[in-house]
Each structure stands twice: as C-alpha cells, then as structure tokens.
C-alpha cells in the first residue's frame, strides 16, 4: 500500500493502538497535523510544548502505556527537552515525534532547525532521524518497542518535513528483532537460589522497593514477599503506592526526608532486598554509611544499575515481577519476630509529625492530610517539586500503584499540573489531584487553558507558602537564613488567575476553611484550583543533611 509519510505516521499510531496524542503544531509538522485533522485522531493541544510532554508523561505513568507527544522543529523540539529528561530519569515510556526541516536543508542552520537528535542523545533511551521513507514504519515499530520494554524510557523520532509528503510502500512490521537490544527478563536461577538462601537466613531483612516495582506491576508479589517472610518494606518516592500506606509492615519513605523507622531499619538491617530501586543519593545519604550491616540483594532490569552506586552481594538482572514470582515459589516463611517488634517500636515512638504552632496557623501537612481524608486516599495525585512534594509523600496515604505521579529523578518544577492533565485524560472518571507549589505551578500555569478548554476536571491544590520553600529551607538550615531570591512576592492571585481562564478557584487561609474548600472543589465539575495559604516558614522534617548518614536525622522528633 502506498502512503505518504504523514499517513504512515497515523497508520503506525493506529497499529500501536494510540488513541490520544499530546502536542503543539508548527511549520515542520503541518502535513502531519493535516493528517491528524483528516483522520480525527484525538489530540490534546497544550499551551506550551513542555505542557504537552509532561501530560504525555502523566498519561504514561497513570496508564502504563507509552505517552505520545508531537512538536515542531527547532523551538518546538527544544521546548520538549525538560520533559524528555524528566521521563528519562524516571524510566517513563514516551514516543516523542518532532518535525525537522526538509532533508536538503539539514545542517544549513535553516529556519527553525535544531539538531534535536544530537541534543537529546543523553536523555533518550534511543532516538532516530528518519532519512528514507521506507525506514519509517520500522522505526516507529522499534521506537514503541524500545520505549516500552526493558528499562522503559523516552524514544524520539525526528521527521523531516519533506518526508511527510513523500510516498512510500507501507507495511507495518509485526515483529522486529533489534540485534543490539535484548533486555533480560528472567532472573538467573542460580542467583535466585542464592538470594533465597539469604532471605531465609536473615533475621533483620528489609525490602527497599522503587519505581521498578510499579513499572513491572509487581506490587502483589511485593506484598506477598513481605507477608510470607514478615519482612518490613520501605518504598522510594517513585515506588510509593506499591505497598498500601496502612499496611503494618510499611515504613514509609527512606532517605533525606524519610521516616525514622525506614532509615533506622536500613541502618540495622542484616539483609537489604532491593527491588527496582537504584540507590539514589537522596535515599542513601553518605553511601559509605549506608546499610552498614546488611548483605545486599539487588533485583533490577537494568544491568547497569547493578554495582553503579553500591556493590551488591547478590545481583539479579531481570524483570522484578518475574524474579519475585520465582522467589515466592520456594519461600514459605521467615523468622523476623524480634526485628519486627523493634520496628513497630520505632514506628510507634517516631511517627511523622508536625507541630500546630499558633492556633489558626495553617500547616501544609494538614492540607495534605485533609486532601487524603476527603478523597479517602482514592485519587491519582501528581505533585510539583519542593516541600509540598515531600509532604505529599509523607502524609498522603497511597494505597495503589500508579497513584503518585511525581518527578523523582530530575525533580522538575512545573511537572505536576500538566502531568495531572495527562493522568486525567487516561482516567477521565478518576479524581485527579495536583498538589502544586506556588513557585512550581507558575512554571506551567498556562495549561489552565488546556484544562478548561477540554474540561479536564483536575483539582489543583496549591500549597502556597509564598516561597520557593525547599530552597528557602536549605537557606535557613545551611546558609545562615539568607533568603537569596526565594521569595515569591509578586505571584498572582491564584483564584483570580483560575477564574481568568474560566476555571473555578477557591481559597483557604485558616484550618477551618480547608475541609469545606476541598469538598467544594471535589464536588465542582471541571477544573478547580484551590489556593491554600500555609505557614511560609514550615520545614520538611525529618531531614538528613546531604552527604551524611541517614540516621543523622534532624528534627521531626520532638
């Protein structure tokens, strides 16, 4: 069958069962957009390419399917860069389609030319510049395959303008083999046996689970492992939700803003069962002091993660779900009574807590608790980056995988709101809450137009502390309280901003107002923004100073 390049793209997307794309048009993708128009493919038009790609990312994290985003060449493509890096750092499957100048112009500094494959080389799992029309179907097949298998990640396809009108023979490959790409899914049987032996012997085992559990859908196996062996679990920021918050052996998050119980458990554990996590410095603190008494089992799909930050005693490369299934086949029980008793004591003696200082002063943590209570924890929550993000991880009681959507690895301010739009597109009937910072929200507030136009009923809760709060906190703690450039004075009235876009906006400045505002927001159809004026000087505690041991915890414990 003869098709033009643009027609081929649409056929490829159809073959990959893509029913929605996010994007923003321009000169080099005019033909492609014309085809989108003709075929009636569902397209969400953002107000900034970064909004489109974060939305595609939110869609992918919520649904588990690759997100697809389209942008034009040059500035359109470069506006995607932060979103690509965000997805790359958290291993999120995206297929990014960019227009490129016509082939004869490539390399001539033509109008709106940018070497986007060069620019994104270090932040994509792979990328392509399509040079011949015949290559196009195969490249799309490969792109979707690479993005969504192995350690997932963003793949970019750069499509020259002239190629979109050129005709070629179209046949979508059913199967492909990529010689240089063969992810390992099945864990090595010998390694699994060794791991099993260690797990059975351990008296103080601890599961440290990360985002890989969510990607591979291993939350049930994780729970089974914990229950079978009576093994406590700590989950990283991106692993949050893989274990229900209320589960008695759940310790919360480890690391810089982790719980006392999680950090002390790591410190005393004799066996750390690491599942789909990567020993990020925000988790380990000073790595030399991390888990000093523990043997380490490290299960990960990416061989390069093994031995990167820490040497594992038993590395197992494979899909964590498949590996856990193998382990569970031969695992009946553990002997951890004393250990669990100690852990329960830690949990009881050192819960996360905050002080209600003066009466009436609205604490950000309280707002999170109320959002949790009034949604019954049954919501998809996205966040921006900063204090509000950490409070969300600490106080929102996540029950399900894929319900916390947050930029963990790159820490991208401005991520939360567009990601919420994407998550809501994936699950139109779900309650989707974006817990935003007043600083972060302003990095993509233009997407209010997108939410209003498509009536995407995201509920935005701005934790408005009038500061770049997390940076202010570091200035307070480590820079003599010199608040250099962290005041957000000059921010708009967020309620009126929402109204200007045609969304609803409500504000709460006191403890009493919080509940009613949330209820009103949840009960109002369409997008709603809530502006919570909280204590500007509240700090995220406990805290581990960077590059110190994670048991040297500051605060949170008075």
């Amino acid at each position: 069958m003869k098709l033009t390049g643009a027609e081929m793209v649409l056929s490829c997307l159809e073959a990959e069962k893509v029913d929605v794309v996010f994007g923003f048009p321009g000169g080099s993708v005019l033909t492609l957009y014309d085809e989108i128009y003709k075929k009636g493919l569902r397209h969400i038009l953002s107000r900034h390419e970064q909004g489109a790609i974060h939305a595609a990312d939110g869609y992918a994290r919520a649904s588990g399917k690759p997100g697809v985003v389209i942008a034009t060449s040059g500035p359109g493509a470069t506006n995607l860069v932060t979103g690509i890096a965000t997805a790359y750092m958290d291993s999120i499957p995206l297929v990014v389609i960019t227009g490129q100048v016509a082939r004869p112009f490539i390399g001539t500094d033509a109008f709106q030319e940018a070497d986007i494959t060069g620019i994104t080389l270090p932040i994509t799992k792979h990328n392509y510049l399509v040079k011949e029309i015949e290559e196009l179907p195969g490249i799309f097949k490969e792109a979707f395959f690479i993005a969504s298998t192995g350690r997932q990640g963003p793949v970019l396809i750069d499509l020259p303008k002239d190629l979109q009108v050129e005709e070629g023979e179209f046949r979508y490959p059913h199967q492909i083999e990529i010689y240089g790409y063969r992810p390992t899914y099945e864990g090595h049987a010998g390694q699994i046996s060794k791991a099993l032996a260690l797990i059975k012997k351990a008296r103080k085992p601890l599961i440290y689970a990360g985002g890989g559990v969510i990607t591979s859908g291993a939350h049930q196996e994780l729970m089974e492992l914990s229950q079978t062996g009576t093994i406590p679990v700590t989950t990283t920021l991106t692993g949050m939700g893989s274990i229900p918050y209320d589960y008695e052996l759940f310790l919360g998050m480890p690391g810089m803003h982790g719980t006392y119980a999680a950090n002390h458990a790591i410190n005393e554990s004799d066996l750390l069962i690491t599942i789909g996590a990567r020993f990020d410095d925000r988790v380990t603190g000073k790595i030399e002091h991390f888990a000093p008494h523990a043997r380490i089992i490290h299960i990960d799909i990416d061989p390069a993660e093994i031995g990167k930050n820490i040497v594992a005693d038993i590395p197992i490369v494979g899909d964590v779900r498949m590996v856990l299934k193998e382990i569970l086949k031969r695992f009946k029980s553990g002997e951890t009574e004393d250990w669990c008793k100690k852990i329960q004591e830690w949990k009881a003696a050192h819960p996360l807590r905050y002080k209600q200082t003066e009466p009436g002063c609205l604490k950000p943590q309280f707002v999170i608790e109320e959002l949790d209570r009034l949604s019954d924890g049954d919501a998809i929550v996205t966040t921006d980056v900063g204090q509000h993000q950490m409070w969300t991880a600490q106080y929102f009681r996540f029950k399900q995988p894929r319900t916390l959507i947050t930029s963990g690895g790159l820490g991208t301010m401005g991520y939360g709101f567009p990601a919420a739009i994407g998550a809501q597109v994936a699950f139109p009937g779900q309650l989707v809450i974006c817990i935003a910072g007043d600083g972060s929200f302003q990095m993509n507030s233009q997407e209010l137009a997108t939410a209003v136009h498509y009536q995407i009923p995201v509920k935005v809760a701005i934790i408005n502390n009038k500061y770049l709060g997390m940076v202010r906190q570091w200035q307070k703690m480590f820079y003599g309280g010199r608040y250099s450039q962290t005041s957000m004075d000059g921010s708009p009235d967020f309620v009126r901003l929402a109204e200007a876009y045609g969304a609803k906006g409500y504000r709460a400045t006191t403890v009493e107002e919080v509940g009613p505002v949330i209820e009103k927001a949840f009960n109002t159809p369409g997008p709603v923004l809530m502006d919570f004026h909280v204590d500007p000087e509240e700090n995220v505690l406990p805290m581990v100073a960077p590059n110190t041991s994670i048991v040297e915890m500051i605060g949170g414990d008075e």
């Binding site: 060069g118 270090p122 010689y179 240089g180 061989p303 390069a304 093994i306 031995g307 990167k308």
Partner: protein, 167 residues
C-alpha cells in the same frame, strides 16, 4: 587504575560514534584513544577504545555501552591474550649529516621512511605502546616536527573472536 582496551562492535549508523564517545565523556570516563574501522560484516564497524579506569569503572562503562541500541558487542581485550598495534607517522628533522643515523634507527625499529624532502623525512612505524614510546624518544634526538597516530587496534590471539557472525 590501568589501561583497558575495549573492542566495540557497532552498527554503522549516522551518529553512532557520537553516541559512544558522548557516553564516555558525559559519565566522566577518560578516552585515551579511539580507532574506528570496518569489519568483515557489512554495516558493522569496530571501535577500539583505550580507557584509563579501575575495574569497577570499566564494568560500568561496558554496561552503559551495552545499553546503547546501536552497540552490538563489547569485548575487554586487556586481560586476555591479545595483540594491540598503533600506526604512527613522525615527521622528523633530517639534516643531510643525520640521515644515515635516522636510517639506522628506522631499521632497528623496523620502521619505514615514506617521504623525504630536503630537510625532513616522514617515518612510519607500527607497534605497541612501548615500542612507539621508545621510537619517539629516539626520534626526539633528531627533532620531531609533527606526529600523527591512528589510535590502537587490537585482536584476540589464537582462535578466539570478538564476535561470531551475526546471529
């Protein structure tokens, strides 16, 4: 820290050299030299990279390289019986009175004179690191004007291959 020689078979695609060398620089690995050339298989190139790194770092380098879609196979030839050679061109000052001395040195090192002009000569020499170093030392006495080198290429000794055929 020791020198490691890696043979990297890559798909011969645009940008693949950048992918590999970019990976080295962005992860802070130091490439000492690099040589790229063809193999017996159409569409497959062989890069020989010499890095200075400890064994743990090398393991990490290999793993990161393996994640590149266009990288087909990586072999670390350092600890296996292998031969490594580099080709060096040296333009050396050659006053008429020194010529026979140079000629003698060239013979000793089994090098070749490939160009002669009134006051300089170009000498071609191949060998391993040590031989080339020694040769340069000797040539310095005459005065080296310029050098060019290919970077090292290497093969396993005996029957062992870095890669059989394409699967």
């Amino acid at each position: 820290m020791g020198k490691r020689i890696l043979a990297i078979l890559v798909e011969d695609r645009p940008g693949v050299l950048t992918r590999v060398s970019g990976l080295f620089s962005r992860r802070g690995y130091n490439i000492q030299n690099i040589a790229v050339g063809r193999t017996m298989e159409p569409g497959v190139s062989r890069m020989t990279v010499t890095v200075e790194a400890d064994p743990i770092t090398v393991e990490q380098i290999v793993k990161q390289l393996n994640k590149q879609i266009n990288v087909l196979k990586i072999s670390d030839l350092t600890d296996e019986p292998s031969v490594a050679r580099e080709l060096l061109l040296v333009k050396v000052k050659a006053d008429p009175v020194k010529r026979s001395d140079i000629q003698q040195m060239v013979n000793t090192f089994r090098a070749r004179i490939i160009d002669v002009s009134p006051d300089s000569m170009i000498v071609e020499v191949t060998g391993d690191d040590e031989k080339l170093k020694a040769f340069l030392l000797m040539m310095q006495e005459f005065g080296i004007k310029e050098i060019a080198s290919t970077g090292k290429v290497a093969l396993y000794r005996g029957n062992k291959l870095t890669r059989e055929t394409r699967c």
